[in-house]
Symmetry: C2
Subunit: 176 residues, 2 copies
């Protein structure tokens, strides 16, 4: 109902990768499967509404329209995951960080005027979490954010608050 949840996967030696971010009001969970290798963790304070898995599955069986909505969300998550695979596999550190900021902007302001050139928001993740999201180290994330700041593409206050002066300049850094 509110807050941000991160979905992670971990290798046996501790390397971690964030494989999804869920913003309210998404459905969270994996129906039709008894277990999953994915871990869900609150990234911010989260409030949610929880149902027994059995109940959800029965409800889905009885209501095709509910199942339809779940399908729509799952397709959207698949689109997002695949976009992110390009970022993970083919972009440089700078492009990854810029892409991440743009992603957050699009979540925070889902229906902002696409012509609006500025944005202002709090990062929902720590540097370490951003690194796990981008497949980078914390130091590299920090260096790239600093570079964006000294190049005057963004401003940073209190580590977490970001002000983007020109969305287009940020997009340029994200490598499209």
């Amino acid at each position: 109902m509110s807050g941000v949840v991160k979905l992670t996967k971990t290798l046996s030696d501790g390397r971690e990768q964030i494989v999804g971010l869920q913003f309210a009001p998404d459905f969270l969970g994996r129906p039709f499967k008894s277990e999953s290798t994915i871990t869900a963790q609150a990234a911010t304070s989260v409030s949610l509404c929880s149902f027994p898995k059995r109940t959800v599955e029965n409800l889905l069986k009885k209501s095709p329209s509910l199942e339809h909505r779940l399908l729509q969300q799952t397709l959207r998550e698949l689109d997002e995951a695949r976009s992110w695979m390009v970022t993970l596999g083919r972009k440089t550190a700078m492009e990854k960080v810029a892409s991440f900021l743009l992603l957050i902007v699009s979540y925070i302001d889902p229906d902002a005027d696409p012509l609006c050139q500025t944005a202002d928001f709090d990062l929902p993740l720590t540097r370490a979490e951003i690194a796990d999201f981008l497949g980078l180290t914390i130091e590299t994330v920090s260096r790239q954010l600093t570079k964006l700041r000294v190049d005057d593409v963004i401003q940073i206050e209190h580590n977490r608050h970001i002000t983007v002066g020109s969305i287009d300049r940020l997009k340029f850094r994200a490598g499209f």
Copy 2:
């Protein structure tokens, strides 16, 4: 109905990433959306059964059980995409290549005895395509395959045919 299809996304400067492989008999396409930034290409000879988008969407509207099957496949694809994100973001070149071989084994022999320690198959992709799948260069893929061969984990014949002596040794290289 048969063959392998690769789903790719491309950046404006030509960098390419394979974001999914589809083996028969999967459903291919993106319902409920007029366009997508994903390209589908045949990786092998492919035979398929095609319907107008409108027809499919009407069919889905009328048949909840068909929609349910589509939801199941979409959830499976999402699981696969997220597993792959860990590989792209957190694994070394050696681990990526070994993971790729294991992935192909699991597709080729969907229900092989999990205790069976050997496998024998043709790669459905060229080195260049494997590189685009793994977020590597063609040279790095080639070097890692050579290393697996020299270390006697696999044998390679005619570039495309792979024989795995010990699945467990390959799994060890894949980094779990």
